[in-house]
Every structure is written in structure tokens, then in C-alpha cells.
């Protein structure tokens, strides 16, 4: 009985020491960022979504007709989409309204993307949305129309030398 206790304690130490020689798992965040392949999109004609990350939205302003179905779906979930009047001449947008999204309230569920019948609201892999002024969390339609740049470079890989980011 004593022998098994001693053996189990030594095995625990051996496991601890063995893990010293594995690669460390930490992602060195601001210098190195995770690579995310694509954002969440929804195709209305075939009623299929393609898998992707649900980050910041992107609005294609040339396709938006201001039907406000996205605002109607979001009304009881997070109430973060407001239709606002936009300047300019929009041929297919009669009332010149487009969605503005308040990221202080958005829960990133993606039902607004599913609801859009004109394939103009998708989600991108952008997740760095923090600001220092709370009012900047409300993104206007023109801010949403800018496609974010790709910043990620590494992925988490499990392999023989330990799971690490490479």
C-alpha cells in the first residue's frame, strides 16, 4: 500500500516534469492574432448559411432597400438595430434608411443576417470592437460598409509537442 502511494506521487511529479518540455499554449495576443477564416453569411435564395465567425457586421449599401426586417427580428432579442436616414441618392432604397448597429447591445446571434432578403448584411471575422468612448460603439451604416482588414496569422494546433499556436 505504501509502495503504491509512493509510486503514484512519483508518477505525478514525472507528469509535471514531462510537461516542462512541451511548447507553451499561450497566444501572445497583441503581437500575434488568431487567424479566422471567414465570416457568417446567409444566402436567401437557397436558404443556406455558410459557417463562419460571427463578428462585426458588414452592410452592402448598394443592395440594401431599407426593408428593416433586420430591425424587426432584433427587436425582442437585443434591440440594437435602428434604421437611420442616410444622405445621398439611393436608387433602390426609397425611404433612404439603412441599419445602424449598437455594439453595446448586440449579442452576435446572427438572426439579422438570416432575416435579410437581399443578401446585403453579413458578418465578418472582426472582433476587436472596443472603444474608449461609449458613443463610438454605435456604428453608422457607412462605418458598417467598410470591410475590415485581415489581421490574424496563427491557429491553435494540437500536435506531439503540445497544443500551441503556430
Amino acid at each position: 500500500m505504501i509502495y503504491s502511494v509512493i509510486k503514484e506521487i512519483l508518477v505525478a511529479f514525472a507528469v509535471g516534469i514531462r510537461n516542462i518540455f512541451k511548447k507553451r499554449m499561450t497566444l501572445r495576443y497583441p503581437e500575434v492574432k488568431l487567424d479566422i477564416d471567414s465570416g457568417y453569411t446567409y444566402d436567401f435564395k437557397t436558404d443556406t448559411a455558410s459557417p463562419g465567425f460571427k463578428g462585426r457586421h458588414i452592410l452592402y449599401t448598394d443592395k440594401c432597400t431599407g426593408c428593416s426586417l433586420c430591425a424587426i427580428v432584433c427587436e425582442n432579442i437585443a434591440d440594437c438595430i435602428d434604421m437611420v436616414r442616410v444622405e445621398g441618392n439611393w436608387p433602390i432604397n426609397e425611404r433612404s434608411v439603412m441599419p445602424q448597429i449598437d455594439y453595446g447591445r448586440c449579442v452576435f446571434c446572427g438572426f439579422c443576417v438570416d432575416a435579410c432578403p437581399f443578401d446585403c448584411l453579413f458578418m465578418t471575422p472582426e472582433y476587436e470592437l472596443s472603444v474608449t468612448d461609449k458613443r463610438k460603439l454605435v456604428h453608422t451604416p457607412f462605418q458598417l460598409a467598410v470591410f475590415p482588414e485581415k489581421k490574424g496569422t496563427v491557429k491553435l494546433i494540437p500536435d506531439k509537442r503540445g497544443a500551441h499556436h503556430a
Binding site: 507528469v15 436558404d47 455558410s50 427580428v73 446572427g110
Partner: protein
């Protein structure tokens, strides 16, 4: 922490919500020396009326809303809700959707059990057992994110099927992750579960006998650790669980160590289920599209599934409108709470973290 003197030999301690050893709830323990004489849990700090709020949202809008109580096991609560909603709306999901739902449910079970294991390690003072499961959990969260789109609250299961298909390359990534994780389970056993110091703190502590478990209505892995072979996935199969082979780990002793081992073995079984499902899946449609406003016939639906913590039970009453009339949820954590006050009596004050967390009580889920 507040100490109130009762007079006499006993002392009443409020192990309150602001304490490193409790969650968002309070246990009022009465101690006599080092032994606990009475324990009364005091939940309700996180109650926000989720069931009432569900009556003002449509069937689709309820999905992100009801996901929030059990944020760590999101599919565990979304899946029974959607199954009940499907019975009311009278739709059926295609086969591939059922298989994908099973994959997400089992991934969520692994994620939730790894979080439990991490906190159990730190309660016993083992800081490595906090870092390793949290790190390995990242691999599974990455897998779930590649399907669901977000890391914790996917809102992935909808009435009619699932929202999107699994991406390509998922099967190879999943198999590589499982191969890596099976070696890690062996390392967890060697450093923690076979560690004589850990065993001396959990073996024989907080024993829940079989007849008490049935009498108190305990559910989930706690029930299986007391010798009762009961799992909703085998008793009332939902979602094509009857087409895959898996075992239910059952232990007879009923102490905290048995509850730990049940959850450890369930990790392995979940990985086996996902492997079999990935082999059996055939290409096909993933969603039965519902056109128009989702409105069901007046009626009721009852559904019972196995979430990570136990049996989750949904009862939806509909009166023909687009909002449900009543949504009643019976969560496993709230039903295990009586077990906590039963088990803590007679154990030492120093054993309180080991016993209380081995029941895997999630305060937000219990308060809804």
C-alpha cells in the same frame, strides 16, 4: 463573510456571494467546532425572470434569450427548447440536422465538464489542474466555433433543423483534437485522479446513498455516481441517440471521487459519440424551412433531454399566437440543490468546497 454568534456552541456562517469559494449564491452553514450541523442554500441572486420574458418573444427570438442562463452548455438548454417548439409548430428536422445537433450537444458537454474540472482543481488547491483543462477546453471551443460561429452562445439550433452545415475539414480537425485529448485525459488521471493527496480529500467525503439519491430527486452524473443507471439519452432517446453505441459510466460508492470519475469517463464517451456520428453522416438538407410567421396550434409539448448537469425538462404551452403562452423549464442544478444541503451535514468545514462543487451546481442556471 459575516459571523453571527448564536450563543451556545454553534456558530452561523454566511458563506456569501462575495466569496472565493462560492458562486453567485449563498450557503448559510451552522457549524459546531469543525463539523457542519446544518446547511441552507440561499439561491436567487441571479434571478431575472427568464420564463416570464420568454412569453414576450417569438419562438426564434427565444433562442438567444434562453441560451443565456446556461451559457456554458448552450446547446444543453437550446436543444430541448427547440425540440418542444418543433412539436408545437409541427415540423420535423432532416436526418443530417439531427446528427449535427448531436455533435454540438456532445461538444458542449465536453466543454462544460472541462470547466467543472478546472474549478474543482483550484478548489482543492491544485493550480495546474486549473490551467490544463482550461487550456484544453480552448481546443474544443475552437471546434464548436468553427460550426456555430461564436465561442459560447451559438444560437445554432432552430426549429426545423440547424442554421448552417459543418465546415469542410471539420472531421480531420476533430479527429486530431480527440487524439491529442485522449493522451491528455491519461495525464489528468496520473496527476490528479490517481494522486493520493487528492484521493484523501475526496474518497469517502460526501457520500450520497442510493435510496437518498432517489428520494431527493438528484439528477445527472451525481445520480450515476450513486449506483443508479439512468441517462435520458438511453431511457428516452431523442435526436437519433439510439443509433450510436455508447456506455453510461456508473459507480457504486456515491462519494465525491465517484462523481469526479463519472464526469471524467463521460468525456471519453462523448468523443466516441462524435466519432460515430461523423462516420454515419450522409449529405443532405440541414433545415426544413418554415415560411411565414411561426405559429403553432394550441397545445402543449413536453421534452426531456440530458444536459451536461442532468436532465433538462421543458414544458411549452401554446395558445396559437406567435409568442408561447407559457414556457416552464426545470433545470438540473436547482434539483440538485437539495442534495447540497443534505450532503453538507456531517462533513467538515474544510470539505465544503470539495463536496459542493462535486455536485456541479451552476447558480445562474438554477435561478434562471
Amino acid at each position: 463573510m459575516q459571523v453571527v454568534n448564536q450563543g451556545g456552541d454553534q456558530m452561523v456562517l454566511h458563506v456569501g456571494p462575495q466569496h472565493p469559494g462560492s458562486g453567485h449564491f449563498r450557503i448559510i452553514v451552522t457549524i459546531d467546532g469543525d463539523y457542519i450541523v446544518a446547511a441552507k442554500p440561499d439561491p436567487g441572486y441571479v434571478h431575472r425572470g427568464a420564463e416570464k420574458m420568454a412569453e414576450y418573444r417569438t419562438y426564434i427570438q427565444n433562442i438567444p434569450h434562453l441560451e443565456r442562463p446556461v451559457i456554458i452548455d448552450a446547446t444543453g438548454i437550446t436543444l430541448p427548447y427547440v425540440l418542444a417548439a418543433e412539436r408545437i409548430l409541427d415540423v420535423e428536422s432532416p436526418e443530417r440536422a439531427q446528427y449535427i445537433r448531436m455533435i454540438m450537444a456532445e461538444l458542449n458537454r465536453i466543454i462544460s465538464h472541462l470547466y467543472w474540472l478546472a474549478i474543482y482543481g483550484i478548489f482543492l488547491g491544485h493550480s495546474t489542474m486549473f490551467m490544463w483543462p482550461m487550456g484544453d477546453r480552448e481546443l474544443f471551443i475552437d471546434l464548436a466555433e468553427s460550426i456555430g460561429g461564436t465561442r459560447v452562445t451559438f444560437s445554432f439550433v432552430v426549429p426545423g433543423g440547424v442554421r448552417n452545415d459543418i465546415p469542410e475539414g471539420f472531421k480531420e480537425r476533430a479527429l486530431k483534437t480527440f487524439q491529442y485529448f485522449e493522451k491528455r485525459i491519461k495525464e489528468y488521471e496520473e496527476i490528479f485522479f490517481n494522486n493520493p493527496l487528492m484521493k484523501s480529500r475526496t474518497v469517502g467525503i460526501g457520500i450520497l446513498k442510493k435510496q437518498n439519491a432517489i428520494k431527493l430527486g438528484i439528477t445527472g452524473p451525481n445520480l450515476r455516481a450513486s449506483g443508479i443507471d439512468s441517462d435520458t439519452r438511453k431511457d428516452e432517446p431523442y435526436c437519433l441517440y439510439d443509433e450510436v453505441n455508447f456506455d453510461i459510466p456508473v459507480y457504486q460508492e456515491g462519494d465525491s471521487y465517484a462523481r469526479c470519475m463519472v464526469r471524467l469517463k463521460e468525456l471519453q464517451q462523448s468523443m466516441d459519440i462524435i466519432r460515430q456520428v461523423l462516420d454515419r453522416m450522409k449529405p443532405g438538407p440541414i433545415k426544413h424551412v418554415i415560411r411565414g410567421v411561426m405559429r403553432g396550434e394550441p397545445g402543449e409539448a413536453f421534452v426531456r433531454t440530458e444536459a451536461a448537469r442532468g436532465t433538462m425538462f421543458f414544458h411549452i404551452v401554446s395558445d396559437g399566437e406567435r409568442f408561447p403562452y407559457r414556457v416552464k423549464i426545470s433545470v438540473p442544478s436547482f434539483r440538485n440543490l437539495i442534495g447540497m444541503s443534505h450532503l453538507l451535514v456531517g462533513s467538515r468545514l474544510a470539505d465544503m468546497p470539495a463536496v459542493y462543487w462535486s455536485l456541479d451546481y451552476w447558480p445562474v442556471e438554477a435561478d434562471k
